[in-house]
Amino acid sequence: MLTLLGGAILKASLTDVYLRYVKEGLRPFLIVAGVMLLAAAVMTLYYDLRTGTAGDGDPGHAHHEPRVGWLLILPALGLVLITPPALGAYAAGQSGTALAAVPADSEFAPLPPGDPVPLSLMDYASRAVFDDGHTLAGRRVRLIGFVTAGPDGQPMLARMVLACCAADGRPIKVGLTGDVRVDAPADTWVQVVGTYHDRVVKDPVNKADVPYLAVTSWQKTTAPRQTYE
């Protein structure tokens, strides 16, 4: 049981699977936790084997494993067998854009060189909304995210932002406008190149601002290793 759980956590943390659920910084702790669980299992085995029978005149022994502990098998199996995907369009549609979390008074540095310049959705959205696009003027930017349906049914670009784990994952959304229509089903990862557009709408879910990007070109892409921002 512990082996299974520890093994599942170790496997997830040694591959990139853990990135679907938690922040990258938690990885060393996950590995330590997995090793500890395995060690506990091995030590139990060792002592049980050494003393021969598990009973050894101790009637309380059979009660050591509380039955509720068997529930731990669910996450272990979930990790190994099902391996749920990272949060996507469904979760993005259900909660409001996370842009409100950004302080309104922060200064924005000029964009790094490059054409188009790759930006995170959060970076683009905060520059567009809180800086009125000043630092974005005249530049082409490249954003990567997945497609989700906006309130008006038009596709939007979204990316989930994690504070700690997927339970607190919140989407950051950028509307797409311009001559080129991004035509891809929800949850498709796309790379979009475009310029700043001054249109801003309110996310109907939490009344936070959703900026727009005038798309000049787009293409499908594979999901990045770290799907969260």
């Binding site: 049981m1 512990l2 299974l4 956590i9 997830a12 853990y18 679907r20 659920y21 702790f29 996950l30 330590v32 936790a33 669980l37 506990a40 030590m43 139990t44 085995l45 002592y47 049980d48 021969g52 029978t53 598990a54 009973g55 101790d58 309380g60 009660h63 050591h64 494993e65 509380p66 509720v68 502990g69 068997w70 529930l71 731990l72 669910l74 996450p75 199996l77 979930g78 990790l79 099902i82 749920p84 995907p85 949060l87 996507g88 469904y90 979760a91 259900q94 909660s95 409001g96 409100a100 979390a101 302080p103 922060s106 700690c164 997927a166 339970a167 607190d168 879910v205 939490n206 936070a208």
Partner: protein, 326 residues
């Protein structure tokens, strides 16, 4: 998984291991149809949130469990008698303040508090520690400062309100609490001769025990996360009284780890600062996974009294601090 001694057919453990093997076999055989059934986006989001709550909590749980096993096995009883003020009323604030040094989230502090009580620490002090530790440790306060860059007073408000609630609950326990409400599971393994063996047995037991209840809580939190759309809440944000109650309830239902709740609170920007403070005070003290774990570690009769009273105290203190500040 400990091995089943084949020499003891008919024992409970023998049966459980066979069941486990059978279950694994079935799951491996039916793996593909099973994976297909979770292709529905709701169910998919549910499993993702469920697994992620557990993956996220697991390091803290293991850390808490190891520390509690150390307390249970290697720290002598006399240490606690010397470390804490003799009078229980004075021990409560001391234990609450001691929560500062435990960097972790609430999943870890439940087994530690159970272990403290078992080692003879007065329950009131252990409970103050249980409530204070996840809310006022440096990591959580740093996260709060990062999440509220425009409102640095939020950090002080959170620490003050959380500590007040923890100490108030400790003293309340001294006055009204009955020790028979706390029923710690009997632990014969701790009287074992070999310390190393006792240590590993305690680790294993606590992981299985607290972890099992964590699973129940995580499932509940994932359900709320998927079933309750955020848009429902928006209409309630305008009313000052209602918004406090809504966010307090949300803190209980969402069961977000105390290191992350500040970011969620920050994003609920249309709610008042007071109601978000209440969210931050209630969250680490009362939530679905904590209630579930407390019921497991301290017994149901304890959890059914302790959680509601803590909830009310936390809401009142949080609102009070918020009203004074803003």
């Amino acid at each position: 998984m400990p091995p089943a001694p084949a020499t003891q057919p008919g024992s409970w453990r023998f049966g459980s291991v066979e069941w486990l093997a059978l279950l694994l076999l079935l799951l491996v055989v039916f793996r593909d149809p099973l994976a297909d059934t979770v292709s529905d986006p709701r169910l998919q989001t549910w499993t993702t949130v469920f697994v992620s709550v557990l993956v996220q909590a697991m390091p803290f749980l293991v850390f808490g469990v190891v520390l509690s096993a150390v307390i249970a096995v290697f720290v002598p009883r006399s240490f606690w008698a010397r470390a804490l003020p003799r009078h229980p009323a004075a021990a409560v604030p001391a234990a609450g303040l001691a929560g500062v040094i435990l960097p972790g989230c609430e999943c870890g502090s439940v087994p530690i508090a159970g272990s403290l009580i078992r080692r003879g620490v007065t329950p009131a002090a252990a409970l103050a520690f249980l409530l204070a530790a996840p809310a006022i440790n440096p990591i959580v306060l740093t996260a709060t400062a990062v999440a509220f860059p425009g409102n640095p007073e939020m950090v002080a408000a959170r620490a003050a309100a959380s500590l007040t609630v923890a100490i108030a609950m400790g003293w309340l326990w001294l006055r009204l609490g009955k020790s028979e409400w706390i029923r710690l599971p009997r632990r014969s393994d701790l009287d074992d001769s070999s310390r190393a063996r006792a240590f590993w047995a305690a680790c294993r037991h606590d992981v299985m025990h607290a972890g099992g209840f964590l699973v129940i809580g995580a499932a509940a939190a994932a359900t709320i996360n998927v079933v309750v759309p955020e848009s429902w809440l928006q209409g309630l944000a305008a009313d000052p009284v209602l918004s406090v109650l809504v966010l307090a309830t949300l803190a209980v239902l969402l069961s977000i780890c105390s290191e992350a709740d500040a970011f969620v609170a920050a994003s609920l920007s249309q709610f008042s600062l007071t109601s978000r403070l209440v969210f931050l005070v209630v969250g680490p003290m009362v939530d679905l996974k904590l209630i579930s774990m407390q019921a497991g570690v301290f017994g149901r009769r304890f959890a059914s009294r302790f959680a509601p009273v803590t909830f009310v105290t936390a809401v009142v203190v949080g609102t009070g601090v918020g009203v004074v500040l803003w």
